[in-house]
Amino acid sequence: MTTTGQRAQGWGFVAPALLWTFAFFIVPFIVMGAMSLATLDGRTLIWGLSFQNYAELAEKRFLWRAIVVSLEITLTVTVVSVVLAYPLAWIIAFNVPKRWQRLALLLAILPFWTSYVVRSYAWLLVLARDGVVNQTMLNLGLIAEPLTLANTRFATVTGFVHFFVMLLTLTIYANLVQLSPNYRRAAQDLGASAFQTFRHVILPLTLPGIVTGAFLTFVLCIGDYVTPQILGGNTELTVPQVIMVQLGRRADFPLAAALAIVLMGIVTVAYLAAARWLRLDRI
């Protein structure tokens, strides 16, 4: 029984948020798209419909390498984070006694609140040649010589995984505790082994949670500048790093915009691949 008046009122409530999103998200996005088709002559911006920037992405080695590197790092981080976080969430949900669960979960995500910029820097200190990791392994006799861990892709991945294990533990835990214990009991009553129960009952039921968490990991990881910049040693650059170089050293907005559009494209593909299981409105 919606009257026109009520509908108008409804629009009145929705309008501010819509306008904000439109003015500060959609419009910039369209302008960025137009910018990616512009070119730079010296420092003069020439608007137009040139695909020169995209052609450069294919031609210049450091540009397409950055896309490959970004994809490799992001996929590694996503997979490793899920594989490490799932057992952790599982243990907190099913092994830790109920009354301690909330505390255990809180402890597992507390370092979330270290400053994001400082967190990567802290990993630099941990992974340094005479940092904690090398010192411990040397003392245990596991290695004879300190390993080069900092300023490598390994360091970047470690820094990322640390952050996303916390994030994923949270989302997967939330999913696991929502499962009724009856499912497990029923499966076991029907003679399923622990593994079969997991494979055929629990995993499918928690898949939406995993995929949603993994998708968030993917989006946040592929767009991140700070972690690879601090930990990666600059021996290979990710797309965000190349974007920031273009902005910081040359103010090449058209090329930066083209790279950003490519980044968006990759995220869209990931979204479509995951869409079946995604529950973004339930984060």
Binding site: L88, L107, A260
Partner: protein, 257 residues
């Protein structure tokens, strides 16, 4: 052995999770110029150094202001949109929801870059306000999603009752809906504050003279290795977990009991 396995995994996981934090805090007490082993100390000199740094204090205040402002706007807009969509039948409401959630699927860097391009092309100056605008863009979807999910039939009945008793729309919202949704609104606000407080790349791209704390820390980080970084990092961590634990103990726990 099999029964111990989960506990061993838990222990190893916690070591991994706390390794950087512990190293960070330990070397904030370093007595010397370099935050690397061997550890000499403890010394509080770097804390004194950090607390006496006027740029850092200014950045800290800026961060709080931006986070507060951006969260207030994001939560208000998010609440209004959720209310409008939950209580009124609007054509294309699925599309509207998708549009409002969309910024969530885009990297912060891209949100910041897009705004930077528009602002520079329009000849508008950068400031804490522009950084705050960017923060609202990224926080609005979260605030909307959280509050929208919490809107149910329960409040709708109370709202109807209030309306029957002669309350106008404004009164219904302020006196019925908002109090009933307080937990969700609070959670949305808290989450917005967390993200905005710690956000780096949008602030980095969209501020000019006055910067937020993460941007100031980034400048320090670019200028040289020093236990000062450890000290400011430890302080931020300490304050943040104090807030989180206080909320956990006094707000969320109380709510559940």
């Amino acid at each position: 052995m099999m029964r111990l396995l989960p506990w061993m995994y838990l222990a190893v996981a916690f070591v991994f999770i706390y390794l950087p934090v512990a190293t960070l805090v330990l070397f904030s007490f370093q007595d010397g110029q370099l935050p690397v082993p061997p550890f000499n100390g403890p010394s509080l000199r770097w804390y004194g150094d950090v607390l006496g740094d006027s740029r850092l204090t200014a950045a800290l205040i800026n961060s709080v202001l931006v986070a507060l402002g951006a969260s207030l706007i994001a939560v208000t807009l998010g609440f209004l949109a959720a209310y409008g969509l939950a209580r009124h039948v609007l054509p294309g409401s699925a599309l509207i929801r998708a549009l409002l959630i969309a910024p969530l699927t885009v990297s912060y860097l891209i949100v910041g870059l897009g705004l930077l391009i528009v602002l520079t092309q329009a000849g508008l100056g950068l400031s804490l306000v522009t950084a705050g605008i960017g923060h609202v863009v990224i926080n609005l979807p979260l605030a909307f999603a959280i509050i929208f999910a919490a809107m149910g039939a329960q409040q709708q009945n109370a709202e109807r009752a209030a309306r029957d008793l002669g309350a106008n729309e404004m009164q219904v919202i302020l006196l019925v809906t908002v109090p009933m949704l307080a937990p969700a609104i609070g959670a949305a606000f808290f989450l917005s504050m967390t993200f905005s407080w710690d956000e780096f790349i949008i602030s980095f791209l969209l501020t000019r003279f006055d910067v937020t704390l993460p941007v100031e820390i980034w400048s320090m980080l670019r200028s040289g290795l020093s236990p000062r970084l450890n000290a400011i990092g430890s302080l931020v961590f300490l304050v943040s977990i104090a807030v989180v634990l206080t909320l956990e103990l006094f707000v969320f726990r109380k709510r559940r009991s």
